[in-house]
């Protein structure tokens, strides 16, 4: 395959940045998208140019590190992570536009790498549970129904990649925050901090400068882990019931 790549290049956060066009020859349709970029970077390095910076880690679709806004969609045309996207999803001679996630709360570090620490701060605000010290508790000590366990696990599948923010026309982090609130609110272990968690995580989400939700459902459609917007409805319930009944003024 021969592809034309329109890639966003930006030296650092302060730089204005712009698109640079590259031609990728000899691309195999069996390559993953990141491998295709690896080959491009090898060529750039050989030519003495600065390789394209992009985030990646496990390349197994489980860590949430890879990103990229490919042809107007986060993680490209399939509902998967970019590392699990293969070049067979594109056609020979195609022009592919690659941009970083765009959000005020996700500043560009370099090229296609964005700083997603805002998500870490949302987690720090309440995405944890109180645990007793001492010996390891027995498995299944706390009974949890299958339905609830499944719902919690569905929410816990979120890998925090930020595709929801990237897909949202408002750069809203509601799908991420709601998944993190839900996975703990559903379980008995999460009850201790239940109210303050909803209040604090929503407050932190707002403070980071993410947008509000318009319920377009774009986040759910693009989420590589299929997190449902029913979690956003749950977050709204959690938040409103927390603010009217908690002791936090």
């Amino acid at each position: 395959m021969k592809l034309t790549l329109k890639i966003w290049r930006q030296k650092n956060t302060a730089d204005k940045g712009g698109f640079v066009t590259y031609v990728a020859d000899h691309v195999s349709k069996d390559m993953s998208f990141l491998e295709m970029l690896d080959v491009l970077n090898d060529q750039l390095t050989e030519r003495g140019e600065d390789p394209v910076h992009f985030d990646h880690d496990c390349r197994e679709g489980i860590c949430g590190m890879c990103s990229l806004y490919i042809n107007g969609k986060p993680h490209g045309p399939l509902q998967t992570t970019t590392c699990q996207l293969h070049m067979r999803s594109f056609s020979d001679g195609e022009t592919i536009t690659i941009e970083p996630w765009r959000a005020k709360a996700f500043p560009v570090v370099k090229d296609l790498v964005v700083n997603r620490s805002a998500f870490d701060r949302i987690i720090q605000a309440g995405g944890y549970v109180s645990v007793n010290t001492g010996g390891v508790p027995d498995a299944n000590e706390i009974p949890i129904s299958k339905t609830i366990a499944d719902l919690a696990m569905d929410a816990a599948q979120c890998i925090g990649c930020g595709a929801c923010v990237a897909a949202c026309k408002n750069a809203s982090a509601m799908l991420f925050t709601s998944a993190k609130i839900s996975q703990l609110a559903l379980l008995p272990q999460g009850q201790v901090e239940r109210k303050s968690r909803a209040e604090n995580m929503v407050a932190q989400m707002d403070e980071e400068g993410f947008g509000a939700c318009t319920n377009t459902g774009a986040c759910e459609a693009e989420c590589p882990k299929g997190i449902s917007i029913t979690n956003i409805a749950r977050m709204n319930r959690e938040y409103f019931s927390a603010v009217v009944s908690s002791d936090n003024m």
Partner: protein
């Protein structure tokens, strides 16, 4: 900042206000369309004129109308605040964006649709509501009691093709606005459940087609019956 203002200033709180005012306006539209069906009665406007007098004089209706004004204002003010906040959340736009692949057009353009509806609302209120309240409306007597002949104003207005076209077009935009707004309001209120959501979705779709269609049929009916 108290907990109330803090909550209402949060993104979720602002959305709550959008949802509650939106749902109240949906209730208003239901009442408005039901009452205006009297235009089809074919009694020269008697029932409609009597209804119009009731709607402008009854104290309970007055209270509801104030709530409607507040809802309209709240819905507009908060939509502007939210739109600005949302715009600022993505200062650098994408060069290529494929929104149609993951969301409905109406859901991405609620602000545009709302602005068009607002422009329509100004024309609509100026034409009828303001006339009824402060304009010079000819009087008509039924069974010894005097009524403002709003029906005459309405029938005269809808003899103009451009106004009929404006009304029909605006109702199409209203339909798209409702098609997203109806279900979206319930989602914001946290009502997303497999027992209720299919019904909410179905009712929302039916509502967003039926109500604007009924509204649009009124000027069309009057236009053609004036021949």
């Amino acid at each position: 900042m108290t907990w109330v203002t803090k909550t209402l200033n949060s993104t979720l709180g602002r959305k709550l206000i959008m949802a509650l005012t939106g749902l109240f306006l949906i209730l208003f539209l239901t009442g408005h369309v039901s009452g205006n069906m009297l235009l089809f009665k074919g009694d020269g406007g008697q029932a409609f004129n009597m209804y119009a007098k009731f709607m402008t004089t009854n104290p309970a209706v007055k209270l509801l109308s104030y709530l409607t004004y507040i809802s309209v204002l709240g819905h507009i003010i908060y939509s502007i605040a939210l739109s600005q906040h949302n715009k600022s959340a993505r200062p650098v736009p994408y060069s290529t964006s494929n929104g149609s692949s993951n969301s409905a057009w109406s859901s991405r353009n609620m602000g545009v649709l709302g602005t068009i509806i607002l422009i329509f609302l100004v024309v609509h209120l100026q034409g009828f509501w303001a006339q009824m309240h402060w304009g010079e409306v000819p009087m008509i007597t039924y069974e010894g009691e005097e009524y403002k002949n709003l029906f005459l104003i309405v029938s005269e207005a809808f003899k103009q093709e451009w106004l009929v076209a404006l009304y029909v077009l605006s109702m199409i935009f209203l339909g798209f606005h409702l098609s997203h707004g109806f279900t979206s309001a319930f989602q914001t209120l946290g009502i997303n459940h497999k027992k209720y959501s299919p019904a909410i979705k179905a009712i929302g779709t039916a509502y967003s087609i039926l109500v604007p269609a009924l509204f649009a049929s009124m000027p069309v009916y009057i236009y053609f019956s004036s021949y």
